[in-house]
Symmetry: C2
Subunit: 131 residues, 2 copies
């Protein structure tokens, strides 16, 4: 399979697949013409990577997960630890965003949004609290 085929099959852009090759996440063989020659195992790995990335795992995490995936002597505890670390990061991001959302929504609610210049949003950013 050429790169276009695996791109279609995996749903990943060809650019991304070349990038994963460049950083050593996959190691496809090469044909006599220099084209990357993907086998089914490569395609499986790419699909795996696509799903791991879609869950927000970093490339570093993906590398570890892929290694565990190929290691028959892994323990599920190792995998679970990576996943839980990532879950914690996700939760932290959600917390941060929710706090932003709360503050921002309050400012937006207080703003008339008309053609006058008075604006609680700008006041809030400038900390010009009119007592």
């Amino acid at each position: 399979m050429n790169i276009g085929d695996v791109a279609k099959a995996s749903g990943l852009p060809a650019k991304t697949i070349r990038y994963y090759d460049e950083i050593g996440l996959i190691r496809p063989q090469r044909g006599a013409n220099g084209y990357r020659a993907f086998r089914d195992t490569d395609l499986h790995k790419l699909a795996f990577l696509g799903r791991a990335r879609a869950l927000g795992f970093s490339i570093a995490d993906c590398r570890n997960l892929l290694q565990l995936y190929e290691d028959d002597s892994r323990t599920s505890a190792e995998v679970k630890e990576i996943a839980r670390g990532h879950l914690d990061e996700i939760d932290a991001k959600i917390r941060d965003l929710s706090e932003m959302r709360r503050t921002l929504a309050a400012l937006i609610t207080a703003c008339a949004g008309d053609n006058r210049p008075d604006c609680p949003i700008l006041d809030g950013l400038a900390m010009e609290q009119p007592t």
Copy 2:
């Protein structure tokens, strides 16, 4: 005020303040020695920027907000539109992260996390549904 003073006063790293100068968000004067000479208006702007960034506004949004902040003929509607656009982005991110969290948490729950190699997390990523 030198850059160190405004860094302390605004809470922003000196590096960041130089960066904001470089991209034209602030335009401090210069002393005879070449040092940036910050006035109170510069400090106010930096504090404004710090709070806007803390709410997740992009630098481009910050530039627009700052411009509106300094424009007496602005309308609060203009400000509110920027803020609402950003709120939508935040909501989209929260939605994405929540969906990731949901899927990931289900996998983690299903994983024993012991010393055996069987792992629903890896199975889920590989889409080897054992049904």
